[in-house]
């Protein structure tokens, strides 16, 4: 059974149809890509999957469970990690503390224990820091961890978001335009990083990207969204030659060479 199943998701904003019956599935261990022109509904679909956006219709199931009615934080605790198109970091915390946020849903110490620094507070803090150290080392963020997040360039902030999401021990990682701004020399390096993350953390990925070539080279399966509908789907080879995709991108400037 697929890890993530979306069936006929519909979302409307004040008369505007953002998602019009989108269905999609991600199997275990798979990297699935989501492409489409600006305004196609990619981020809305992400928000619907993760629970930040109420679906007007349709259902979302995760790991065999219907999660349509569950709140976003419940879904995150079930193993959905995500990043945001505009990185959502806590400006007042350091890079390290931002990444620590990823561990916090699993920690049980509350205000009382933290305010009095009870043993449970120390124990959880130590465990969480160990986890963060591991992820930080794995992503090569070591030199930046004690800076403020405001001092980082866009790419750095995206990496911090990925690190934070990885600390939640996700089984599905949803990356919203994670490649733009990361500034690897080539898309190949980034694709390698993503594959390594999949292997080391044993997870599936759903990836929204602007760079079509990058998605086609990285993903096992690709969905193409336009005007809130899936206009094409299949393996990268199938999608590449799909006439509907070519039409959708006609006139749209596809940043072919702009890797990252």
């Amino acid at each position: 059974m697929a890890l993530l199943e979306v069936r006929d998701a519909c979302v409307r904003f004040a008369g505007l149809v953002a998602l019009d019956g989108v269905s999609l599935s991600v199997s275990r261990g798979e990297i699935v890509g989501l492409i489409g022109p600006n305004g196609a509904g990619k981020t809305t679909l992400f928000n619907t999957i993760t629970g930040l956006q109420h679906a007007g219709g349709g259902r979302v199931s995760f790991d065999g469970r219907d999660v349509t009615a569950l709140s976003a934080d419940r879904r995150a605790r079930m193993g959905m990690g995500r990043t945001f198109q505009t990185p959502q970091l806590v400006a007042r915390l350091t890079v390290y503390d931002n990444i620590l946020l990823g561990c916090q849903a699993r920690m049980r110490n509350g205000i009382f224990a933290d305010g009095l620094r009870l043993p449970s507070s120390w124990r959880n803090e130590v465990l969480a820091r160990r986890e963060v150290d591991r992820v930080v080392a794995s992503l090569g963020l070591g030199e930046h961890v004690h800076r403020g997040v405001g001092e980082l360039p866009l790419g750095g902030r995206r990496l911090v978001e990925i690190a934070r999401a990885l600390c939640t021990n996700p089984r599905l990682l949803l990356l919203d335009e994670a490649a733009s701004g990361i500034g690897r020399e080539d898309a190949g390096g980034l694709a390698q990083l993503f594959r390594r993350i999949r292997r080391e953390h044993d997870l599936s990925m759903l990836v929204v990207e602007h760079d079509v070539d990058f998605v086609l080279s990285l993903c096992d399966y690709v969905y193409v969204l336009d005007f809130g509908r899936v206009i094409a789907r299949g393996t990268p080879d199938v999608v590449r030659s799909d006439p509907a995709v070519i039409t959708a991108y006609l006139g749209e400037e596809v940043p072919r060479a702009a890797a990252g």
Binding site: V11, F13, A18, N38, G39, A40, G41, K42, T43, T44, N47, L52, Q53, H54, A72, F84, Q85, T86
Partner: protein, 310 residues
């Protein structure tokens, strides 16, 4: 049955004042995006001016009407002063900052009122002559009829103003989009000033209508802003008609609860509660219910805006 009818009449009269106060809050919100915590305090100051004028000119034929006109003018002036002195310097700040500033205005006006007129509660003469009618089994005073008629007339006038005059259309345009309104040549400054003036004027009228029955001191009217919010939130701070309905509904509910809870609770262990002030409890429940029924949770709204910004 008689008790119920009398209770309902009392509720409608109270509610008319709530509605009028709520409409003042809506007027300011629509024109400026500010929720005016000082609405009650401004009404209180205008009402003090009214009462003081009547003290000095009561014997003359025009005493009360003249004082009422002056009080409304004071209300308008107060609104404009708040707009020019406090709100304009804050024009670039967030709505929240401007709203907190209205708390400062409330604090200043309330303290000034005590300095100027003392802290004791005083009586205020009624706007309408003594007398009454028996409507069915219930006696309704002219004053009560007057309050409801004035509230309805002002509601009608304000609605006509918004929908039938050029200036009203301008205000509605600004409340939809400040930028677009500016581009289409509407003078936003005049719109905000007029909204504050309208708030001040309706507040003054509401204060004069309600003070004879509540008594006047620096805090009773100031805190009526809570009832005003309850009424205004009924129409999501946008709809005058719903604010009117909400105000009246709140008044009726308060009156009914006050009458029957007191009977029901007599001798009950809970009777130590000050049931006479049940209106404040009802206003709180009213506000909570409205806010919890707010269609989308706050988080989905942020998410939705992100979704829009694909």
């Amino acid at each position: 049955m008689e008790l119920l009818l009398a209770t309902l009449v009392l509720g409608v009269v109270q509610g008319a004042v709530n509605a009028l106060l709520g409409m003042g809050v809506v007027a300011v919100y629509r024109g400026t995006g500010v929720i005016n915590f000082a609405h009650g305090a401004m009404a209180m100051v205008s009402t003090y001016v009214f009462a003081t004028m009547v003290d000095h000119h009561a014997p003359s034929f025009l005493g009360v009407p003249l004082a009422a006109v002056v009080a409304v003018l004071v209300g308008i002036a107060l609104g404009v002063v708040v707009d020019v002195v406090v709100m304009r310097p804050l024009a670039r700040q967030s709505a929240l900052v401007r709203i907190i500033a209205t708390l400062g205005v409330l604090y200043v006006l309330q303290s000034l009122a005590i300095i100027a007129w003392g802290g004791a509660t005083r009586a205020v003469p009624q706007l309408f002559p003594q007398g009454g009618h028996a409507i069915g089994p219930v006696d309704v005073s002219d004053n009560e009829i007057g309050i409801v008629v004035v509230a309805v007339l002002i509601a009608a006038a304000v609605t006509l103003f918004y929908h039938r005059t050029r200036f009203g259309t301008a205000i509605r345009a600004v409340s939809n989009s400040r930028e677009a309104a500016t581009l289409s040549g509407i003078r936003v400054k005049w719109v905000t000033a007029a909204s504050w003036a309208l708030g001040g004027a309706t507040g003054a009228v509401a204060g004069m209508l309600v003070a004879p029955s509540l008594g006047l001191n620096s805090y009773i009217l100031t805190l009526l802003v809570i009832q005003a919010f309850a009424a205004a939130l009924t129409g999501r701070l946008e709809s005058m008609a719903l604010a009117l309905a909400g105000g009246v509904g709140l008044g009726v509910l308060t009156s009914v609860a006050g009458t029957y809870l007191e009977q029901w609770l007599a001798g009950h262990p809970l009777s130590w509660i000050n049931i006479g002030n049940v209106g404040n409890g009802i206003a709180f429940l009213w506000i909570i219910a409205l806010l919890l029924a707010w269609k989308r949770p706050a988080t989905t709204q942020t998410a939705a805006s992100q979704g829009m910004a694909l």
